[in-house]
């Protein structure tokens, strides 16, 4: 079965049902291993053990952005190629991305409080991340407001494409503006500056989060396909009732 054949919703649901147990198992295993390595990682000389919030904070930030990037690709899929599963992907991904972004904001806030003396500062990176969260909520609200899923998909696709401009802003905010937030240390020109004892658990946690995201995404997509089937059946029921 080729990937393109998965575009058929029914085939997709069947494939998702097959793959999901394996994916969730893999996610659980990688999580367990990553948490174990995170526990072993050394404490920070200044912050002590609170530095380990980083293992939740950084992956969730990355996944929040990855999710919007996925939604952007799905938006192009809807508008340009009219791929049947594109809008299902976008709709399923939005709440997940919002959750990851919220996790990032909350963990970051708790992490920064001892050092900054406040739960929140309006610096460039935090603000652009908050904007991303609000964009997610806006997209979710838009999905729920327009009743017809295919019309909603087009409106949301445009909003997603426009909102994608926030992603590079978040990434480069620590370079462009004077911020309280730490500068880039992993994905930067010249290679990462983090010690491997911290980098490895970080990457493992990221892998675990990604597997979790994919599992949840497939489940949400399956639910959305079933939801649309219910809607079609209801329309049929109403017209048959006479």
């Amino acid at each position: 079965m080729r990937i393109s054949e998965l575009a058929n919703p029914s085939r997709f649901v069947r494939a998702a049902n097959l793959v999901m147990p394996w994916l969730s198992g893999a996610a659980a295993i990688v999580f367990a291993f990553a948490l174990y390595r995170a526990m072993l990682a050394p404490d920070d000389y200044q912050q002590g053990a609170t530095v380990k919030i980083m293992f939740l904070h950084v992956p969730s930030a990355w996944l929040g952005m990855l999710c919007w990037a996925l939604m952007t690709v799905a938006a192009l899929g809807t508008l340009v190629w009219c791929h049947p599963l594109a809008d299902v992907t976008a709709k399923a991904a939005a709440p997940l991305g919002a959750a990851f972004t919220l996790l990032c904001l909350v963990t970051g806030s708790l992490w920064g409080r001892p050092e900054w003396g406040t739960y929140w500062v309006w610096d460039a990176r935090l603000t652009s991340e908050l904007i991303l969260f609000l964009l997610y909520l806006g997209v979710i609200a838009l999905w729920r407001t327009v009743e017809d899923p295919s019309r909603a998909a087009r409106a949301v696709a445009i909003l997603t494409l426009v909102g994608a401009i926030d992603l590079p802003i978040i990434k480069f905010s620590v370079d462009w503006w004077n911020t309280l937030h730490q500068g880039a240390s992993v994905l930067r020109v010249g290679g990462s500056t983090i010690d491997p004892t911290i980098l490895i658990p970080l990457l493992l946690m990221t892998a675990a989060f990604t597997l979790l995201f994919v599992t949840l995404l497939l489940a949400a997509m399956r639910n959305e396909i079933l939801r649309r089937r219910v809607r079609t059946l209801r329309l049929l029921q109403a017209s048959v009732a006479g």
């Binding site: 009743e147 209801r234 029921q237 017209s239 009732a241 006479g242």
Partner: protein
């Protein structure tokens, strides 16, 4: 119980719509209000329903509950169906039944009677225009009020729906109800009085109004 109207006149948007409309309607009687578009059929029903004040004339009720106005003892079925799309079919009817103080247990039976029993749990957004009209008619059946004010009630209904409506109207009249209906075609009820508003248009310029106080369709309109 009798609904009496003498010399009712109506003004909408600065325009004299009709004048000199009189009728009497007793229990078990039906009145068909006819006329071309714009003659004021809907306006007359809305005057009786208490939504518009008449520009002149008198409207009163003999009998009935003296504490209540005509509007509070009447059902108004207008062009709009008052159906909320986000509620289910049953929830819509439940609301009106509870709001008008009728017995909520009759909702499912009423839905069966109007042919919507099978889709009671469906969100009302999925209904066609005819089905929404039938849901509104369900309101008239579930809540007992003596006077029915119907504005082109069969307009979105198919043939089966129209037959059902005629049956409902017949049982309402047999039970001592009154019906005033604005309609283009025939109501399908025997013994209906007819009130044609085409003769009730006052002449604007000469100040000499045609169409005096009689309720029969006498005379022709001189333009």
């Amino acid at each position: 119980m009798r609904v009496n109207a003498v010399d009712l006149a109506c003004r909408r948007g600065g325009r004299d719509v009709f004048a000199g409309v009189s009728f009497q309607l007793a229990r078990g009687e039906a009145l068909a209000v006819t006329g071309r578009n714009g003659a004021g059929k809907s306006s007359l029903l809305r005057i009786i329903g208490g939504f518009i004040r008449p520009a002149g004339g008198r409207l009163w009720l003999d009998g009935g509950d003296p504490e209540l106005s005509i509007a509070e003892q009447a059902h108004y079925l207008g062009h709009q169906d008052a159906v909320k799309p986000s509620l289910s079919v049953a929830e819509n009817l439940h609301f009106w039944t509870a709001f008008f103080g009728a017995d909520a247990r009759k909702v499912q039976d009423t839905l069966e009677r109007v042919g919507l029993g099978a889709i009671a749990a469906l969100p009302a957004a999925y209904l066609s225009a005819g089905q929404r009209r039938r849901l509104s008619i369900g309101r008239l059946l579930a809540v007992k009020r003596p006077i029915w004010l119907l504005d082109e009630p069969s307009s979105t209904l198919d043939a089966a729906g129209r037959d059902r409506l005629t049956d409902f109207m017949k049982s309402h009249l047999a039970g001592g109800g009154l019906i005033l209906a604005a309609t283009h075609g025939a109501l399908g009820l025997s013994g209906t009085q007819e009130l044609s508003l085409d003769q009730k248009i006052p002449l604007p310029v000469s100040g000499d109004n045609l169409g005096g106080g009689s309720e029969a369709k006498v005379g022709a309109v001189t333009p």
